[in-house]
Symmetry: C2
DNA sequence: CCCTACCTATCGCGTGGCAATATATCGGCA
DNA sequence: TGCCGATATATTGCCACGCGATAGGTAGGG
């Protein structure tokens, strides 16, 4: 029932994922969880014990902002991305791209080796 | 003097990098560090306090095998990838690919949004 | 009235990158 | 001879964070 990707893989980019979802528009924790699940093709099953502390951290860092809202039916805590959050999303995305390119280039020879041998 | 990528980014793929380097051929810790540095275009500056425990873990998991060697000049601990290590490299690479594809698809809308707006 | 889904929160555990530190060998240079 | 920087491996303690477990509350249906 845990995540389909190992915990270590997630660590580098969970913030990025959450910020990118919130960049689409405000939402609350539980819905964010479902959105992440859907957007990842059921691969990222973020646990509550991961999600809420993460949101609290992002808020403490002023990357997101929260507000309790009861008018939309049930009482929920809505989160909204801040200007600093958008900025962070930008730099994090850039770092992610650099990182992926780096790993890919390191794995490239392995892939071609695998193609030649058994 | 630390790593150019955040510690959290590294966590998911350090094993993968080390195994991929060892798949090219046997080597010892310090040289592995240099190879990683070179192969990553000076971006992955693995610290000794990260490298050696990592090698010990991989060996404990039978993914690599070590042997002290003095005949090649200085006394060094040479590491060699095992069959299980090659297998792991394969599955880890596959998981990495799936993960990257997942994140990329999640970031795609953000990128196009950024292209349209400011 | 219970049961399931919805919704937020916190605690404790284990993992692992990293700085700091220790130790030892080697080559060069004064 | 003595010192120093590069080479080489190892360990310790710190800290961040994903995760399982647990808890507590609301809403709607059978």
């Amino acid at each position: 029932m845990s995540n389909r990707f190992g915990p270590d893989l997630l660590r580098g980019s969970l913030d990025l994922m959450v910020l990118s979802v919130l960049a689409h528009g405000s939402t609350y924790g539980y819905d964010l969880q479902q959105k992440l699940l859907a957007a990842s093709n059921e691969l990222v099953q973020l646990q509550a014990g991961t999600l809420y502390p993460l949101l609290h951290r992002l808020e403490a860092d002023k990357l997101i902002r929260s507000r309790w809202e009861a008018s939309t039916g049930r009482k929920r805590k809505w989160y909204e991305i801040t200007a600093a959050g958008k900025q962070r999303l930008k730099t994090q995305t850039a770092e992610w791209d650099r990182y992926v390119a780096c790993i890919q280039s390191m794995l490239a020879p392995i892939r071609s080796t695998a193609a030649h041998s058994a």
